[in-house]
């Protein structure tokens, strides 16, 4: 059976290292999200130039989640809906961010590549896979919007700090030991392909 862990965010490095690929987690606390490539490029520029990002990331999380945020009448902020985007779009930029900010959790959907897995292993960071098409569930877990940065960007590209309660369950897709479900599943599927093609040939031979 897969085990379900309740985790307080930001996740401690020890907790990140204790999780295993395939575990499921529920998150409470604060997370930082964006779905924008230009946003992640700005964060890399902060790292390169030694500047602080507009929302602190050190020892925290950065999730590839898109959201629609807007100002409320009372001067606050609200997120109307939230959902993951494809993480592999950020492959080239994530190792720098994971190492520089010592992130303990990243996430989105579809996983990250081997260079990211290596950075996560070094730092003690996990990748959490969110349900795509899960906007009704993810949005209901938002307690409050703490901060929104980069308002010049379109809504889903903004950097947003959120308080969440019971966000998930999310699957640990990559653990801090260097195990990636995405890599192992791809490897297994490739290894299985000759057998799959042979079965197709056998089925064709018996088909109309």
């Amino acid at each position: 059976m897969t085990s379900l862990h309740s985790i307080r965010m930001p996740m401690s490095r020890e907790e990140a290292r204790s999780l295993r690929a395939g575990d499921m987690v529920l998150l409470d606390g604060e997370i930082v999200i964006t779905a924008g490539l230009p946003t992640v490029q700005r964060l890399v520029a902060c790292a390169e130039e030694g500047r602080d990002p507009p929302i602190p990331l050190a020892g925290g999380s950065l999730m590839h989640l898109g959201s629609y945020s807007r100002d409320t009448a009372d001067g606050g902020l609200e997120v109307l809906y939230m959902n993951p985007t494809t993480s592999t779009r950020f492959n080239a930029l994530m190792p720098r961010l994971i190492r520089h900010f010592g992130l303990t959790a990243v996430g989105g959907k579809g996983g990250l590549d081997a260079a990211c897995v290596e950075a996560m292993r070094e730092v003690g960071c996990v990748y959490l896979s969110f349900l795509g098409g899960g906007a009704p569930l993810h949005s209901a877990a938002i307690e409050a919007v703490r901060d929104v940065a980069y308002p010049d960007l379109v809504a889903h590209y903004r950097l947003v700090r959120l308080a969440v309660r019971g966000l998930g369950p999310l699957t640990v897709g990559i653990d801090a030991q260097g195990n990636s479900l995405f890599d192992s599943l791809r490897h297994d599927a490739e290894a299985r392909m000759p057998e799959i093609l042979a079965r197709l040939a056998a089925d064709r031979a018996g088909a109309p």
Binding site: P169, L181, L185, R199, L200, P208
Partner: protein, 289 residues
């Protein structure tokens, strides 16, 4: 009575709104069957969440995904339909009206491919395919908001007098390339033959066929069945984190061609957004999906 600009505009807006807030019935049934058959614990949990998300979206009128996609419409005009006004502009104006009035607002996904700037409008947007139905007195509109997650992984290769083995091996190559990325379990559409553009269109149209329907061509019905088994044997599973359910359906169609044979493969993610309705000659609107 004529089918008017106003009727087509209103229906184009309405179909998009409906598409965003529900998973089609055939797809929920497919997910339910997958949950019964799935042997992997984690995958069962993900499938249960999918069904829960679909139920919550429908019950509370919420968007199922934050990626509202780009507007894709297929409009079929009956040759016996009487039209009044600029029906072509009506589809585009209907989407504009939706953008202006929908609550909650849509994110900006329409992208200029030369600059990557994003907005609600752009060249040739909405993406509309126009078709004609002989003798019919209706106009049918199918709406399929197309998102990035699954749209990104479509591919096409042109072969010369390929065997079925080569065609199926190519389908599996594209499935492997997409891997965990396209929000599985997906609907796989395969278009064979015709020409470059025709094969792509056939594959896209194949994703719109209801899940559970049987291909009327026995050769293709058998191909769909064995390809579905093959895709699910890859093990990528729901959301690509492992399991028996990588696809809910494989749908194949073809057109005659020359001997150079394009094979197009495209995917629709598990939410499989799709709505369809007809405006009849007497002015009534019939919701079909």
């Amino acid at each position: 009575m004529p089918i008017t600009y106003e009727a087509v505009k209103a229906l184009s807006a309405q179909l998009y709104d409906w598409s965003l807030r529900a998973v089609p019935a055939d797809t929920k049934d497919g997910l339910g069957r997958a949950l019964e058959a799935e042997t992997h614990d984690g995958a069962r949990q993900v499938l249960r969440m999918m069904l829960g998300s679909a139920r919550k979206a429908e019950a509370e009128g919420r968007f199922i995904c934050s990626d509202a996609g780009v507007p894709v419409y297929h409009v079929t005009i009956g040759t016996a339909a009487r039209l009044e006004g600029d029906i072509k502009a009506a589809v585009s104006d209907g989407f504009d009206e939706l953008v202006a009035t929908i609550d909650p607002p849509l994110l900006k996904h329409v992208t200029n491919p030369l600059t990557n700037e994003r907005g609600y409008k752009g060249k040739d947007m909405p993406l509309v395919t126009w078709d004609v139905a002989g003798g019919a007195d209706w106009v049918e509109i199918l709406c399929q908001p197309k998102a990035l997650g699954s749209g990104r992984w479509a591919a096409l290769e042109t072969f010369s007098f390929p065997t079925l083995a080569e065609i199926e091996a190519y389908v599996m190559k594209v499935v492997l390339q997409a891997g965990s990325q396209h929000c599985p379990p997906v609907i796989v559409g395969v278009g064979i033959g015709g020409s470059f553009d025709v094969a792509a269109r056939i594959s896209s149209k194949a994703t719109m066929r209801p899940i559970g329907s049987t291909n009327p061509e026995p050769v293709l019905a058998a191909m769909e069945e064995r390809l579905l088994r093959a895709v699910n044997a890859t093990g990528f599973g729901p959301m690509g984190t492992g399991g028996d359910t990588t696809a809910l359906a494989v749908h194949v169609d073809y057109a005659s061609g020359h001997g150079y044979t394009p094979v197009a493969v495209c995917f629709n993610c598990w939410i499989n957004r799709r709505t369809r309705a007809r405006i009849h000659g007497d002015g009534t609107v019939e919701r079909l999906e």
